[in-house]
Symmetry: C2
Subunit: 132 residues, 2 copies
DNA sequence: TACATAATGTTATATTATAACAATAACTAA
DNA sequence: TTAGTTATTGTTATAATATAACATTATGTA
């Protein structure tokens, strides 16, 4: 579960925008959309994004350079993330699978090395796009 | 196993550089290093990189915007990739685990959706950095 | 209060990646 | 082999993503 963080003004403005969005948002699209709220420079956006990622309120979709709000109450503050990405419509969904996260959290490589963090991105077609 | 692709001049120059490197290389660092071979513009690098990724000779490390040669004979032409990344020294290793790839290839989400492709990046400390 | 820490505002710049178009090279099918 | 096709290259310009540096303001805490 997410610890309650008291978001600052900029963080709140940017989180609300991402949270309301049905798809991941890119930094400069966020910037464009919050100009009317007084956020004028890329750095203001990136600083808020960094913080929001750090506290686990949002995640970065690395392959898309885009940000999505976390709706997965069991996800361990950005330490273990998994997403499905539709290659046609770009719909992104956070995967919440106890089996998967257990498997990955316990995964050891040949050297027996354990990892503190992972990010997994699956690609395919979403339901809608499969039917087309 | 990698199908033999006849690389073009630029593709070969750039693949050789990445293949010889012990760590992932970034596009503009590649550009800098192949200037003496007549490759002068970013696009020439990006085009070669795109092709090399497409045919599975290299992979992109998404979280680092960097490229690494594939040394994993069982990896299915860029459709199923897994890496470990050291958060201190940035050493990247391609993970070759039959168990892992089987697990992920067969993973189905709640909707029973299967995926054609995935990329997994683990983060932690490599052996060297753990001992420090 | 006074000090430390975090967040903000602002300008400039670095880094990563693609658009657009012309010219060659390589492949394919009469 | 030759015309047509596709892939690759060269080149210039520009778009998109992200950070450096520094001054200022707000917040938390002793
Ligand atoms: Zn999450
Ligand atoms: Zn779709
Ligand atoms: Zn590989
Ligand atoms: Zn290391």
């Amino acid at each position: 579960m997410h610890k309650e963080h008291n978001l600052t003004k900029n963080q709140k403005i940017i989180f609300d925008l991402i949270d309301k969005s049905s798809q991941p948002l890119k930094a400069y699209s966020i910037l464009y959309n919050v100009k009317k709220k007084g956020i004028k420079a890329p750095l203001q956006v990136y600083r808020a994004l960094d913080k929001l990622v750090e506290i686990g309120k949002i995640h970065k979709i690395e392959s898309r350079n885009a940000f999505i709000a976390c709706h997965n109450s069991s996800c361990q503050v950005a330490k273990a993330t998994a997403f499905s990405i539709c290659e046609i419509c770009e719909k992104v969904t956070e995967i919440s699978s106890a089996g998967l996260s257990k498997y990955l959290a316990n995964f050891k490589d040949k050297d027996g090395m354990k990892y503190s963090k992972y990010n997994l991105e699956f690609f395919g077609l979403c339901k809608k796009c499969t039917l087309k």
